[in-house]
């Protein structure tokens, strides 16, 4: 009995002693019934009380023994078997695993660097052009082209690189580059060191959920035909960027700033001491960001990591749509696993410890070769590392079929890779998935909110405003991939993820909330970083003259100036477009000055002032207002401000400037200019603005157009 127990292949433990193979566990996982346990249990249950249970357990042992089988393994002694199990495997592949791990860490650090560098640092400039990892995701580019008719030429190069890499080597992107995959691997090492929580030993379960990623991908592609993007929620790069923006960065900055704040606490005043020594502790602060919907995004992320307790890389195996797309492409890749069957001792290490569950032994008696599925494999090289008899070899060879066709080798002579398990997705499921997606799309398109979007080009919710440069509503929802880069880069935190303000299909798309932050006058960052062109690039002059995000409205019932006389002029003070104007208004509740003549004229304005019964109140000039929300942000009336920006008179007919050929082609490029005929209006707005604003100082001052830098220490 005990001999059998030792010979049983152990799940989750590769015997490497944590040294090289990349496995996450060196111990027996919890929840697995070992045969030794069964023996112990039977010893206990020999008591008359549980005889039926003992009989059942004994039957399990017999079944188990049959299932394992001895096969060619039986010819070795127990000592030889032990040595084989604990053999370090192929030293060359150990080296490759180390390289793979280094590449993973390096690309992850690069991703974090790109993430941190996407900050607004200058007018029409930014830390990083676009997040490079968003461009590596060619599913993103694909759906962007299909759904929003925007061919982003800047994304074709990186996408083509990943496509060629996949054609050569399968899902190398998933195993070596993807920051979400690396995050899952890191979390695995931290969370599941002591074994997986509810790990299943049933081998059929590796196949159980495998097709969901194809179903998700096909459903999404079906919906894309109608311009409805449901793949954005599962797109791995969008998902991890969104998670970093909403879930990881804000709490980190919050705790770090709280630590710095504690240095100013009364007994020591460390911050004060540092300031008096010539430094400034505040320069170490992270800029704080705040977002709605962080909890929902966090729950998805945590759930995704928790599923790894059931199967390693559960997300990548079963759900990731980009992984599904790469899996379909990798069927014809060249980097294959060659298995020498005569050396295999059927130890099942490869099958049980494969990171993606890509090895399978479907033969009932386990005598046949384990089959390998290249579409499930992410080329992590673990199987080659742990194979005790070194029969698995991963080699890039010209496929035998091509060799034979080109007569490079006689038929049957070329080395053939391992037998492949087919993707077990029938025609019915393919059709059903695509059909479900198309049905989804038709339902969304025929819903009232979408009807409003098509017919009236704006949303029903009057407080739901889009960032400047946003496409028209239906095109915007189709193009936005919910990566939250625009919200990360927004220097005033004005862009927030929408919940249901734009309908269900507008979930987590950016929404401008002026009461949280205004749209800064000279900032163009959201248009610069948007990877899909849902927010078109614009200049600050475009924002001033051509774009309208909404219109400010004064609520006369709560406004301080309308009610309290001359006590507040903040909205007019802050408006950079001179759109808020204070005008004299007759108010018959004011006391009449009897000493004045009835046709008394105001000494300043020269108008009749009804014997002093006028007050100065804010009004909005709708030609000049762009809806930036600076007035709403600074309005002292709380919590509902007295001057509020609504999406009335929103104008998204803006035509983006195309400075470089790689800016790509937009949906409307082959139409005539949508803003044609508006040039006179733009010129009139510019002339009106220049009456109020001296943009150019006198000759002695420096030209102001140079750069916009939120770093508030210009001289230091």
């Amino acid at each position: 009995m005990s001999d059998i127990s030792r010979d049983m292949p152990r799940m989750g433990g590769c015997g490497c002693g944590g040294s090289g193979c990349g496995c996450s566990s060196g111990k027996q996982p919890r929840g697995v019934i070992r045969v030794a346990d069964i023996g112990a249990a039977r010893a206990k249950t020999d008591q008359a009380a549980n005889r039926a249970e003992a009989a059942r357990l004994a039957k399990m042992v017999v079944v188990h023994k049959e299932e394992v089988g001895d096969g060619p393994y039986a010819r070795f002694t127990a000592e030889q078997k032990r040595r084989m199990r604990e053999a370090p495997g192929n030293p060359a592949s150990h080296r490759i695993v180390r390289i793979r791990r280094a590449v993973q860490i390096a690309t992850f650090m690069l991703f974090v660097a790109f993430f941190l560098l996407t900050t607004a640092t200058g007018e029409n400039k930014y830390g990083v052009d676009k997040n490079f990892f968003m461009l590596l995701d060619f599913l993103n580019t694909l759906k962007n082209t299909i759904a929003s008719h925007h061919l982003a030429l800047y994304a074709v190069g990186p996408g083509l690189f990943i496509l060629l890499l996949t054609l050569w080597g399968g899902r190398i992107f998933c195993g070596w580059i993807c920051p979400l995959g690396t995050t899952i691997d890191i979390a695995d090492r931290l969370l599941y060191r002591k074994g997986r929580i509810f790990y299943s030993k049933k081998r059929s379960e590796t196949r159980r959920f495998r097709n969901y990623k194809y179903i998700y991908l096909l459903t999404g592609l079906g919906a894309l035909a109608w311009g409805i993007d449901i793949l954005a929620f599962g797109d791995p790069i969008s998902l991890i960027t969104r998670t970093f923006t909403f879930v990881i960065y804000p709490p980190t900055a919050f705790v770090w700033n709280a630590i710095l704040n504690s240095a100013d606490a009364p007994p020591l005043h460390i911050g004060s001491v540092i300031y008096r020594m010539g430094g400034n502790l505040d320069s170490l602060r992270f800029p704080m960001t705040h977002y709605y919907n962080g909890v929902a995004v966090m729950l998805i992320f945590v759930g995704l990591l928790a599923l790894s307790g059931y199967q390693e890389r559960f997300w990548c195996r079963n759900l990731c749509p980009y992984g599904g797309l790469l899996a379909l492409i990798s069927r014809i890749s060249w980097l294959r696993h060659y298995i020498k069957m005569d050396g295999c001792i059927h130890c099942k290490k490869c099958e049980l410890q494969s990171r993606m569950g890509s090895y399978e032994n479907l033969d009932r008696n386990a005598k046949a070769a384990p089959q390998h599925s290249i579409s499930e494999c992410i080329q992590c090289f673990r199987c080659e590392t742990i194979c005790p008899t070194d029969v698995i070899q991963i080699q890039a060879r010209i496929p035998a079929s091509i060799k034979e066709k080109l007569r490079l080798a006689p038929a049957g002579d070329a080395p053939r890779p391992e037998p492949q398990t087919e993707i077990d997705l029938g025609k019915r499921r393919v059709v059903a998935s695509l059909g479900a997606g198309i049905l989804w799309g038709t339902l969304v398109k025929s819903s009232p909110s979408e009807y409003q979007g098509i017919m009236r080009r704006y949303n029903r919710n009057e407080k739901a405003m889009r960032p400047p440069g946003a496409l028209e509503e239906s095109a915007f929802v189709a193009a936005c991939t919910r990566c939250a880069e625009c919200m990360k880069v927004c220097p005033t935190n004005a862009l927030q993820p929408a919940t249901f303000e734009f309908g269900l299909e507008g979930l987590w798309t950016p929404m401008l909330i002026p009461s949280i932050g205004p749209c800064a006058e000279k900032c163009t960052s959201c248009g610069d970083v948007c990877p899909t062109g849902a927010i078109r690039p614009f200049t600050w002059q475009d924002k001033r003259y051509k774009i309208k995000m909404g219109l400010a409205n004064v609520d006369k019932s709560t406004c301080v100036a309308w009610n309290g006389g001359r006590d507040c002029i903040v909205c007019a003070e802050v408006c950079p477009y001179s759109a808020v104007v204070f005008k004299d208004t007759f108010d018959d509740t004011l006391p009449k000055d009897p000493t004045l003549p009835i046709d008394h004229k105001d000494p300043i304005t020269g108008k009749e002032d009804n014997r002093g019964r006028t007050k100065r109140v804010p009004t909005v000039d709708e030609r000049l207002c762009t809806g930036c929300g600076l007035c709403e942000y600074h309005c002292p009336v709380l919590p509902t401000h007295s001057i509020v920006v609504y999406s009335f008179q929103e104008d998204r007919s803006y035509q983006p400037p195309k400075e470089n050929w790689w800016d790509g082609f937009w949906r409307g490029d082959w139409d005539k200019r949508k803003d044609a005929g508006k040039d006179a209006q733009y010129a009139a707005t510019a002339a009106e603005l220049n009456k109020h604003i001296a943009l150019q100082g006198p000759a002695s001052t420096v030209s102001p157009g140079a750069d916009y830098n939120p770093d508030p220490h210009p001289g230091q």
């Binding site: 002693g17 944590g18 060196g26 111990k27 060191r193 705790v255 700033n257 630590i259 710095l260 704040n261 504690s262 240095a263 100013d264 606490a265 911050g271 004060s272 300031y275 008096r276 400034n280 505040d282 800029p287 704080m288 800064a520 006058e521 000279k522 100036a561 001359r566 006590d567 507040c568 002029i569 903040v570 007019a572 003070e573 802050v574 950079p576 000494p603 300043i604 600074h634 309005c635 002292p636 009336v637 709380l638 604003i693 001296a694 100082g697 006198p698 002695s700 001052t701 420096v702 030209s703 102001p704 750069d707 916009y708 830098n709 939120p710 508030p712 220490h713 210009p714 001289g715 230091q716």
Partner: protein, 349 residues
């Protein structure tokens, strides 16, 4: 990693590690709980700003020097010299904060901002007196970098050790207790209800002002649509974070109260140009009194400077925050009781 436990005494091997894990974990959790006290801002030390002092009893309360557009710098220096020289206010090694009006995208001739010549001479004087750090602070409502460039402040500090600062981030501020400086009774014995109260207005100041030794206010004379005038007293609203509550709880008492707390060492009012209408941003009617006024009492200076606002004929008794500050004992509103020295800057003093 996978160290097998010896069957004999498993607890002893684990005990130290377990202790460290528990101790470290509880320290982490406790530390995170403790950090919630410092959620948004630290606690500031009381202000270092040196209280204003007259050089001698015979020193005038207010010095007004008139000049011409070519001598704005010179009359600034002359006005300060009449008060006893810059050394009276700025000591060697001081951290000096100057607060001029420079937060608007307006050219100097539109009179919404302090004249660059006045700023430059003031910075030069502070450098000459041995200031170790000079910071020019104004919380700009317009885009601050453009505003600093257009109003000329960027050029004014060129070649000096001074730096410009627009504290637009909340993290640059520290909480202060303004209510402690406000009396509950006016000088007449009437009750006074402070607007700064722990659950009404919590005020925050930039660290640079809290740590400063010398605080110089350098306003320009302007009409204000809401606060009637904006000169030295209203200028302090360009140095604080929580300005919204001032509009909600009444502008005038709040301005008077922040002046009770934050007492500038020196006030140099730039009346070389005065914005008469549509203040504080303009553009409006401007006049050129060509005068620089200096003193240490902002209430007295503002009362005196009302005479430059000739278009709307503003008198000090129309300005509520002057009256409240006077009744709280901050300064003298009645200019007839002050020792005022008016000089024509064309003649050598």
């Amino acid at each position: 990693m996978a160290s097998e436990q010896k069957p004999g005494k498993p607890e002893q091997r684990a005990s130290r590690r377990q202790f460290l894990e528990i101790a470290g974990g509880s320290a982490l959790v406790g530390g995170l709980y403790g950090l919630t006290f410092f959620e948004h801002e630290g606690f500031a030390k009381p202000s270092h700003i040196r209280p204003p002092q007259k050089a001698s009893a015979s020193t005038p309360d207010i010095v007004a020097v008139q000049g011409n557009p070519a001598t704005y710098g010179d009359i600034t220096e002359q006005a300060i010299n009449e008060l006893g020289g810059i050394e009276q206010f700025v000591k060697k090694g001081d951290r000096v904060v100057i607060s001029p009006n420079m937060g608007w995208m307006r050219t100097p001739d539109q009179a919404a901002t302090t004249h660059p010549a006045v700023i430059r001479r003031l910075v030069k004087l502070c450098e000459r007196a041995g200031a170790s750090r000079i910071t020019l602070i104004d919380y700009a409502l317009d885009d601050w970098k453009l505003a600093f460039k257009i109003c000329g402040a960027y050029d004014a500090i060129r070649g000096t050790r001074a730096s410009l600062l627009s504290p637009t981030q909340p993290t640059m501020y520290k909480k202060v207790n303004v209510a402690a400086a406000v009396p509950n009774k006016t000088s007449d014995g009437a009750d006074y209800d402070p607007r700064h109260h722990y659950d009404r207005i919590q005020q925050r100041l930039p660290r640079d002002i809290i740590e400063a030794d010398c605080f110089i206010v350098n306003p320009v004379v302007k009409n204000h649509e809401a606060a009637v005038i904006t000169i030295a007293m209203k200028k302090l609203m360009g140095c604080i974070w929580n300005r919204k509550d001032y509009h909600r709880y009444g502008l005038h008492p709040c301005i008077a109260e922040i002046n009770m707390f934050l007492k500038p060492t020196l006030v140099v009012t730039d009346a070389t140009r005065a914005l008469q209408t549509r203040g504080p941003k303009g553009p409006g009617i401007t006049t050129t009194p060509n005068t620089v006024v200096a003193g240490i009492d902002p209430v007295a200076l503002d009362s005196y400077c009302c005479k430059f606002l000739t278009v709307e004929n503003i008198t000090p008794d129309q300005v509520q925050h002057l009256i409240i500050a006077n009744s709280l004992g901050r300064g003298q509103i009645d200019t007839s009781q002050l020792n005022i020295k008016e000089i024509d800057g064309a003649q050598p003093s």
